[in-house]
């Protein structure tokens, strides 16, 4: 299982590879897009400039540094829907990116995926984004038919769900998002506007909560409030890493375009450490839970919490 790290500039590639990253993904916003839609609606779902490489020249430098270390680079063009008039220039952009050495594009727009399939790229991979909400094997098959060569699964699946999907994926590589950036909502079904320059998103805000009707059970308001004010930086799926690798997941993605290099590197180190331990120890599920929590404490300096957990079957917050 490969470790897929975010990258925003060439100068951080070496450090991230040293930390354990084996693949990269980046954002890039072409001028024709930003001129049309302004700074908030980007073609890679990040409303702040640090989350994208600043220019094609910088992307070339990222590609070169990554190639020196035998790491491939993918580019996120994962906004959807793309208006029809934007599909041809976006497909042209992808062709240009492929020519520069980009190995894959992460796509969440069905018409763009179909257009890329029709262009029959010889080497380029098309990754179906987690925004396609792949909760089952049928969705993987649907996306394969639409032109996906890799599928990023929905973030809410358990290791058992993923294992079952991997066994029927028929050779389509599956990718799991498993460190940092966990959202309380299903990303593919969430239509919140992430426009706050302070990066406080609607899913993190603290709401006034008023029950309407008389039957709201006790605990509902508290359960809603549990996700409010949660810092996604602390999100983690470390306990699952050995099991995901064992069941054939192709890559584990770390969230964090736009984060500082040290944060990205520390994430790659944590995942690499857990993976190495899993390869050595061939652990059962309980041992994975204990080790994952230990690596978490080492990485973050605190205990893990349920609201930051990608895989609650490992009982976050309980040390066994």
């Amino acid at each position: 299982m490969l470790i897929l790290s975010p990258v925003d500039r060439a100068s951080e590639v070496a450090e991230l590879c040293d930390a354990g990253a084996e693949e990269f993904y980046a954002g890039y916003v072409p001028p024709f897009w930003s001129e049309a839609f302004g700074p908030v609606v980007t073609c890679n779902r990040r409303s702040f400039a640090e989350a994208s490489v600043s220019s094609l020249e910088e992307l070339d430098a990222v590609l070169f540094e990554a190639a020196l270390r035998d790491a491939s680079v993918h580019v996120a063009i994962n906004a959807s829907p793309l208006p029809d008039r934007m599909i041809p220039p976006m497909a042209d952009l992808v062709e240009e990116l492929a020519g520069r050495g980009v190995r894959g594009v992460i796509v969440s727009d069905l018409p763009l995926m179909l257009s890329l399939r029709d262009r029959r790229f010889r080497r380029l991979e098309v990754h179906a984004s987690t925004l396609f909400s792949a909760f089952n094997g049928g969705t993987v098959a649907f996306l394969r038919r639409a032109g996906a060569s890799r599928v990023v699964l929905a973030r809410e699946l358990s290791t058992a769900d993923i294992s079952a999907m991997a066994s029927v994926a028929r050779g389509t590589p599956l990718e799991v998002i498993g460190f940092r950036g966990r959202c309380p909502n299903i990303e593919g079904f969430c239509t919140h506007l992430h426009d706050d320059p302070r990066r406080v998103w609607p899913c993190e805000l603290r709401y006034d909560k008023t029950p309407e009707g008389e039957g709201t059970p006790p605990g509902v308001l508290e359960a809603i409030g549990r996700n409010e004010g949660v810092d996604r930086f602390f999100s983690c799926g470390l306990c699952a890493v050995p099991i995901l690798e064992r069941c054939g997941v192709h890559a584990l993605k770390i969230v964090g375009r736009g984060a500082e290099t040290e944060r990205k590197a520390s994430a790659a180190r944590a995942v690499a450490s857990m993976r190495a331990w899993g390869r050595e120890a061939s652990p059962d599920s309980r041992a994975c839970g204990l080790q994952g929590k230990a690596v978490y404490r080492e990485t973050f300096g605190r205990r893990c919490r349920p609201e930051n957990c990608y895989f609650p079957e490992f009982l976050p917050g309980e040390d066994g």
């Binding site: 700074p39 829907p81 929905a154 079904f189 239509t191 506007l193 009707g213």
Partner: protein, 265 residues
């Protein structure tokens, strides 16, 4: 004239009380535990046959094991019923196409691509094109409509009536034989869906084999000043009420069906 549907509850419990000529919508777009049983679906379909009205079955997303629940449901649809299944899971669409090719299917609101956050109407950081972009969706793409129609047998699209982006319906074909159907839902636009349900303590809905459905006892209103409007949460979904007079005129002309909710779905 578009056909009017009313939401009659997850099991179609209100189906018998709908006004004459009004179609019936049942099921759920966001929770597998709010799907009707096969018996309830058959009963709602029989009611619709007797009243000569159409039935709209709303379906959610599914894990592999949950997807199997669809099979007895679809088998329960009696011959002669005018049924459309709104699909919110690409895998479910594939299953329908393979095993139930005779059942009419449409792309549900969760897959439509429209953005419905109340902030969109209020954000000072959006330019006009950026705001309008949030109203676009699969329905506005000729390429998507063509492929989904030919390859997956999709015959319709479900959307919300939103104040932004009415021009995105410009290329959608006018109602007619052989053209895809547009279903416009109102007034509760789906803003977001979680896999965790506060009504079962914040656990994943997949952690229960069956659910007491206590979310049906009443929603929770969510208010935060920067959001540009309140949201209502029921179960795993948050909705933004959009006033009926916000329905853009160009949209209603394209609609095959208007799906109304007297209460949150």
């Amino acid at each position: 004239m578009p056909c009017t549907y009313r939401y009659a509850g997850p099991d179609g419990e209100g189906a018998r009380n709908l006004p004459e000529g009004v179609g019936c919508a049942i099921g759920s777009e966001y929770c597998v535990h709010l799907l009707p049983s096969a018996g309830s679906l058959a009963s709602a379909a029989e009611t619709c046959i007797a009243r000569d009205t159409p039935l709209l079955l709303l379906t959610p997303y599914f894990r592999d094991g949950e997807l199997k629940r669809l099979l007895p449901l679809f088998r329960a649809i009696p011959g002669g019923a005018d049924v459309d299944v709104a699909v919110n899971d690409w895998g479910a669409l594939l299953v329908l196409r393979a095993l139930f090719p005779g059942i009419r299917r449409s792309v549900g609101r969760l897959l439509s691509g429209q953005k419905r956050c109340p902030r969109i109407g209020a954000s000072p950081r959006l330019n006009d094109a950026g705001r309008a972009w949030h109203g676009e969706g699969l329905f506005s793409s000729a390429k998507a409509r063509s492929w989904l129609g030919k390859e997956m047998g999709v015959s319709g699209y479900h959307v919300d009536s939103l104040p932004w982006g009415p021009q995105s319906f410009g290329t959608f074909p006018d109602p007619g034989d052989g053209t895809p159907r547009l279903y416009v839902h109102s007034p509760y636009a789906v803003v977001t869906v979680s896999d965790s349900c506060p009504w079962i303590g914040g656990a994943s809905s997949a952690s229960l084999s069956s659910c007491p459905r206590s979310c049906r006892q009443g929603p929770v209103r969510l208010r935060e000043v920067s959001m540009g409007g309140d949201m209502l949460q029921r179960g795993k979904a948050r909705f933004h009420p959009v006033r009926l007079d916000d329905l853009p005129p160009g949209v209603s002309a394209k609609a095959h069906g208007l799906v109304y909710y007297e209460d949150l779905p």
